[in-house]
């Protein structure tokens, strides 16, 4: 069981500024739950795309009712991977973020697309999608309650549609990133 969220926002800053800020977003006053940030991988491809992988660790902030049910999970921080592709010619940044642990509780996958706003070239459009799933019986409703709150500042169009999002590019990175694995993970904040 799971939920899909979609939102679109317009950032009133040009794309190149949003991109530069993207790499410097931590720390910030709204991300006190983010404990560490590390770049694990970077590559400029022959077609001049910038591939990156970042590892974030975040505090595992469960709501009060969940703490009683899942005390063991409170001990361990959440590990989150963020993979991204910057295309400086198309002026796009695509990111995929998901949690590596606490999967028995919940899996959160977020995909963001930052692109120059066609109708307002000095603005940047951000399309954000999230897939939240849990194999814990009875957790779907609390998920619906928790996550819309965290995204309340954006336009939300919750629904059951799954978008035709782009497939991972067939890249041959030099670092040993390979072999797909089913990822499950714990709850993470969607807003960074």
């Amino acid at each position: 069981m799971g939920r899909y969220f979609y939102s679109e926002v317009h950032i009133k800053s040009p794309w190149y500024q949003v991109l530069a800020a993207f790499w410097q977003r931590y720390p910030n006053p709204y991300s006190t739950h983010v404990l560490t940030e590390d770049v694990l991988y970077r590559e400029v491809t022959p077609t001049n795309l910038l591939l990156s992988r970042r590892l974030l660790t975040k505090t595992n902030r469960l709501p009060g009712w969940a703490e009683h049910i899942f005390p063991a999970h409170m001990a361990r921080d959440v590990y989150v991977l963020e993979d991204s592709i910057v295309d400086p010619e198309a002026n796009t940044l695509v990111t995929k973020t998901w949690n590596l642990n606490h999967n028995t509780l919940m899996t959160v996958v977020e995909r963001c697309m930052f692109e120059q706003d066609g109708s307002q070239p000095t603005w940047t459009k951000l399309k954000q999608e999230a897939w939240i799933s849990s194999s814990v019986y009875g957790l779907t409703r609390p998920i619906q309650v928790i996550f819309p709150i965290s995204m309340a500042t954006r336009k939300i169009h919750p629904g059951n549609t799954s978008p035709a999002h782009q497939k991972p590019r067939p890249l041959q990175p030099r670092s040993p990133i390979s072999s797909p694995e089913p990822i499950t993970a714990s709850k993470q904040k969607l807003l960074f």
Binding site: L35, R42, R53, L55, P88, L100, P176
Partner: protein
């Protein structure tokens, strides 16, 4: 921002500074002359990969831009 390896934070900062400068002043402006930060990155990575192993963080074999999440089950 701190690194996951406490000892790596300074190396991380050095790399971040180099990268941010190159990214804004060269990469985004279409300059394809190449990334000048490879040496600082290497030093930083030696440290952080060690910390990741010590903390048993499960990053091995994770596909780039994975997972593919399709229809959520309702």
């Amino acid at each position: 921002m701190n690194s996951v390896g406490e000892a790596c934070t300074e190396l991380k900062r050095e790399y971040d500074q180099c990268f941010n400068r190159w990214f804004a002043e060269h990469f985004l402006k279409g300059d394809r002359s190449g990334d000048p930060c490879t040496e600082t990155f290497r030093k930083y990575q030696r440290c952080v990969q060690k910390a990741i192993k010590e903390k048993d963080i499960p990053i091995d074999g994770v596909e780039f831009m994975g997972p593919n999440k399709d229809k959520p089950e309702s």
